[in-house]
């Protein structure tokens, strides 16, 4: 069974490691290759991808359908498949529902996600620079420790002491309670380390050293400008991740001062718990900011995930 794979490996002992642009540039050579046809998308491939896209979009579409109708939309057979005309009304009702505090939730989530994204970028670019370009005792071990810490799901495991901590600090129901614990983000350090290795030439750092620049100056004047694309990706991914955090905000905040996720959860139990058009309207509003980000920066986000998954 192993013949194909092992023989292929044996034929390429000098193949360089799978770095960088190899994947992107081979397209030009493809036409001359022996196995041209296996890289062409077959009809089956297209159909399968088409079906995947439909499945990906359908729940979002269904959200719009129900959100733009009245309460009966979700209790009609056969289910309606086209949007109605009630969207504007539903939006204004949902935004004005006192029980769910949706507007406050949206604002809070902007503050929390923005603060976390900004801080994670600062922490990660600093540490990423150190791990990528500075030599210091124990750096490999410290990097390994960060990798290990990424395996600890703090929200679930640490919930009791984190809550007790917030009670002692009198931070329950404050935004710092849901900002600070999320600053522990090892993924960002790995991503920025990778970007710094690629984007900042060693010679540039050395030349700056010879000119007498301090480490912080090198960070500010050389590293930061060079890793800007990486900063954008990390900032976006962190913002999206924190926009969607649920468990810890549910514990640490109360319904009068929610994040957006807690607010839409309140919609399902509050005044409109039986009205799916209202619940779906709230849900729809909660995904608008991320959808805008995704449409505007989709390409960078795809690139960031591809980079992070392979290299991290």
């Amino acid at each position: 069974m192993s013949t194909v794979a092992s023989r292929s490996r044996a034929t390429t002992p000098t193949e360089p490691p799978n770095q960088g642009r190899a994947g992107r540039s081979w397209g030009r050579r493809r036409r001359s290759g022996a196995g041209v046809h296996i890289w062409d998308a077959t009809a089956l491939t297209r159909i399968a991808l088409g079906a995947t896209l439909i499945l990906s979009f359908f729940p979002l579409y269904w959200m719009i359908v129900v959100a733009s109708r009245d309460a009966s939309a979700a209790t009609t057979f056969p289910p309606p498949i086209t949007p109605g005309s009630n969207l504007a009304d539903n939006v204004s009702t949902a935004l004005n529902d006192d029980a769910s505090n949706l507007v406050k939730g949206l604002v809070n989530s902007f503050i929390v996600s923005g603060a976390v994204a900004f801080s994670v970028v600062v922490i990660s670019t600093l540490a990423g620079f150190a791990f990528a370009k500075l030599r210091f005792r124990g750096s490999t071990a410290l990097l390994a420790v960060i990798l290990l810490t990424m395996a600890v799901p703090l929200q679930q495991i640490g919930i009791v002491p984190l809550y007790i901590m917030m009670v002692e600090l009198d931070w329950v129901n404050t935004l710092q309670a849901v900002i600070l614990p999320f600053l522990v983000n090892g993924f960002g350090i790995f991503l920025m380390r990778q970007y710094t290795i690629q984007a900042v030439p060693d010679e540039l750092v050395e030349a700056a050293r010879i000119d007498g620049a301090s480490t912080l100056r090198i960070y500010w004047n050389i590293v930061l400008p060079a890793v800007r694309p990486g900063i954008a990706v990390l900032g976006l991914l962190t913002f999206m991740q924190n926009w969607n955090e649920f468990l810890w905000p549910l514990i640490a905040l109360s319904p009068d001062n929610p994040t957006v996720q807690v607010a839409i959860q309140q919609l399902t139990t509050g005044n409109y718990s039986a009205d799916y058009s209202m619940i779906f309207t709230g849900t729809l509003l909660s995904i608008v900011p991320l959808t805008v980000i995704f449409i505007a920066f989709g390409k960078q986000i795809v690139g960031g995930i591809m980079e992070g998954g392979v290299k991290a």
Binding site: P59, F77, A127, V184, S214, L247, I251, Y276, L290, V310
Partner: protein, 291 residues
């Protein structure tokens, strides 16, 4: 001085934050778990009693089974599908970026939003799924009634949100596989299906390990989907048929104010995660040898 000290200064913010919000809570959880610790009452050292209670408690063991069941039911098809989608995305194709963005679009929806929408779609009386089943003559299914039905419904929520994300990660790794491997195999007459299983998948092993690792942590701490599926209640159905360990922890903590029990359950969950992650690693690590 600058050269010696500054690297440590630059990496210190992470470690300081981890010490406060990571290491300390972990240690403190262990300490709390050894006490009979109620919200308002006195705390009393009880040794391993909380653990003893949990490990012989049918309800807690049910939540462990539910969590593992949903983890397997969600993760195995998810990663296989992601591999196939990535393989399709790796073909020569018009509009590649659009397809990539398309499979990632579920990322914009939060778990809460996904869970709300899917919970409605899985409604017993007016849900879309039961309507579709009705069209082909299948009686309506009460998706919340049995373990298996509810696990299935919840697993589809997880898969909908994460399959595309994993596919994009696999795609990135696929593009880094040296083309020479495929050219040689093609010369040898290997079909593209054979090449997929014998070249692509083994070459992806490190990334598969990465995604399995991520899915293990995410899957075993499942919380929002089953919570919203059960209308926001922590008990996961009348007999806890879809209550996860994470829900049990929050229930013990929030509804029963039993901090000691919640902390012990949290440590057991941590132990389960480590064991399952190791087991998965051993399984995935065999990919190359077995082929």
């Amino acid at each position: 001085m600058d050269l010696k000290a500054s690297p440590y200064l630059l990496v210190s913010p992470y470690f300081i934050l981890f010490a406060i919000f990571g290491a300390f809570p972990l240690g403190f959880t262990l300490w709390v778990s050894l006490h009979d610790w109620q919200l308002a009452g006195d705390k009393e050292y009880v040794g391993l009693e909380n653990y003893q209670f949990l490990l012989t408690n049918d309800r807690f063991l049910t939540t462990v089974v539910n969590t593992l069941g949903m983890f397997v039911l969600a993760t195995v098809p998810q990663l296989l599908l992601a591999l196939l989608i990535a393989n399709a995305l790796n073909k020569r194709l018009r509009g590649r970026l659009l397809f990539r963005l398309g499979v990632l679009i579920p990322m914009v929806t939060s778990v809460v939003a996904v869970a709300i929408v899917f919970s409605q779609i899985y409604g017993t009386e007016y849900g879309m799924i039961n309507w579709l089943l009705g069209q082909v003559g299948v009686d309506p299914i009460d998706w919340r009634k049995t373990s298996l039905a509810s696990w299935f419904a919840i697993s589809t929520m997880v898969d909908w949100r994460w399959t595309g994300y994993n596919a994009i990660i696999y795609l990135a790794a696929m593009q880094a596989i040296p083309r020479v491997l495929y050219e040689a195999a093609t010369v040898d007459g290997a079909s593209s299906r054979r090449q997929f299983w014998h070249i692509t998948v083994p070459q992806l092993k490190p990334v598969i390990i990465f995604t399995v690792f991520i899915s293990t942590i995410g899957g075993l701490t499942l919380f929002a989907e089953p919570l919203m599926f059960g209308s926001g209640r922590f008990d996961g159905g009348t007999t806890g048929q879809y209550q996860t360990v994470a829900m049990y922890i929050v229930q013990a903590f929030r509804e029963r104010n039993n901090y000691g029990l919640a902390a012990a359950a949290a440590w057991l969950l941590f132990a389960i995660i480590i064991v399952v992650a190791l087991a998965n690693y051993l399984v995935v690590n065999r990919i190359r040898e077995s082929r």
